[in-house]
């Protein structure tokens, strides 16, 4: 090619204009920086943040699952949505939870509302969006009240032992309801339900590979 010898060293201004990328909004930029700082904080292993979140969800779920297994009573979920019991303390959790449930006999606390997760292209992206939302600790309740009225609320998701968090998203152009919770195996899953028919269309693990 005529210019393959590399005589042109100038920047191509026209291509530069075409290639320009809209600047990040402040929220996104700060989030990127904050996550990078968090993941590289002294003593933090790269997987610690994700594992911590997964354990938090599992912990809350486990307290309910054990309560159901131990006795024919409904276990009251702790007020705080993320209060994981220490590993190996399921017996203590079960007994204390059983006490609470005998007194309250209340329904489990509602799932954590994640709000609308936005458009995602595939399941991996959906899992990352859920992960990011859990990381920020935002409940979604204050930012999008409408999203609290999540469709398919009455639909039981067979893959999940219980629903720990819920939200909505647009998965590859399709509106979906997102349910997060532990599977019988203990693995935390993200399940997408078609928002119209409330039928599960896909699921993926929450924890990164």
């Amino acid at each position: 090619m005529s210019d393959e010898a590399g005589d042109d060293v100038r920047r191509d201004d026209e291509l530069a204009r075409s290639l320009e990328v809209p600047p990040l909004d402040d929220v996104t930029r700060r989030r990127l920086v904050r996550v990078a700082m968090d993941r590289t904080a002294p003593g933090a292993a790269p997987q610690d943040a994700a594992r911590g979140r997964a354990l938090a969800v599992i912990g809350v779920a486990a307290s309910l699952v054990v309560g159901v297994v131990v006795g024919p009573v409904v276990v009251t979920r702790p007020k705080s949505p993320v209060t994981p019991p220490a590993a190996g303390s399921n017996r203590d959790v079960a007994s204390s939870e059983t006490d609470q449930s005998e007194a309250a006999a209340a329904a489990p606390a509602p799932p954590q509302a994640l709000g609308d997760l936005g458009p995602v292209t595939d399941l991996d992206a959906l899992a990352r969006a859920v992960d990011a939302r859990l990381q920020t600790g935002r409940s979604g309740a204050s930012e999008d009240a409408a999203s609290l009225a999540v469709p398919c609320a009455a639909t039981t998701v067979g893959e999940l032992v219980l629903v720990s968090a819920t939200g909505t998203a647009t998965l590859d152009g399709r509106p979906v309801v997102v349910r997060i919770g532990p599977a019988p195996s203990g693995e935390i899953l993200v399940v997408a339900l078609d928002a119209t028919g409330c039928v599960a269309v896909a699921s993926t693990p929450l924890a990164p590979a």
Partner: protein, 201 residues
């Protein structure tokens, strides 16, 4: 090095070198300022290499984490921004390989929700589509030259290839990209017509 009282906050006048030295020494404040300063350019490179707005955010996130983790390995032989571009490029390429697919041009719904923005969204999609169809090595070279404005030796350092290879990739990448943008322009009138022979000197 700019004199800075111990414990004083880092400012916009602080140089990358000073910030990098302090960050490498464990000053988290310096690291945060550095990451914030370079987040945009890291994201921009990822955006054009990866093609998908969403995947670009993932790649940019991994790049910033890698920069933070590797700050102690920055030896100052190149500009800090050049090093950032190297990390960003690698993160973007890793993202593409992780996906196992060609970059998929997409736009977040929010970017086109403003009335009148459709034209610019179409233009960006045309650029993304055009970039997606040219070989990865050409795409990266053009992005580093014409978006990141790195010079040829810097690009050679980022890509770890000879200077002649950089020149060739840029020339071929530009040629291919312009041809595709011309076709897109003929289709929707939203993309600037390429200037033929602009680089013929």
């Amino acid at each position: 090095m700019v004199d800075r009282p111990p414990g004083a906050p880092w400012t916009a006048e602080s140089t990358d070198g000073d910030l990098a030295d302090a960050a490498a020494a464990g000053e988290r404040g310096a690291l945060e300022v550095l990451l914030d300063r370079h987040a945009e350019r890291v994201h921009a490179v990822c955006r054009r290499v990866v093609g998908s707005a969403e995947d670009a955010l993932d790649a940019a996130q991994e790049a910033l984490v890698a920069i933070a983790q590797g700050i102690g390995r920055f030896d100052g032989r190149s500009a800090f921004s050049t090093w950032c571009y190297r990390v960003a490029t690698n993160a973007a390429l890793d993202e593409l390989r992780r996906r196992g697919r060609r970059p998929t041009p997409t736009e977040l719904v929010t970017e086109s929700s403003v009335p009148g923005m459709e034209a610019s969204v179409d233009a960006r999609l045309d650029v993304d589509r055009a970039l997606a169809t040219i070989p990865e090595e050409f795409r990266v070279a053009v992005v580093l030259r014409d978006l990141a404005d790195l010079d040829y030796p810097e690009i050679a350092a980022v890509l770890d290839v000879p200077l002649g290879t950089v020149k060739s990739r840029i020339a071929r990448g530009r040629s291919a990209l312009r041809a595709r943008l011309v076709r897109a322009d003929e289709g929707n009138q939203h993309v600037p017509t390429s200037v033929q022979g602009a680089d013929d000197e």
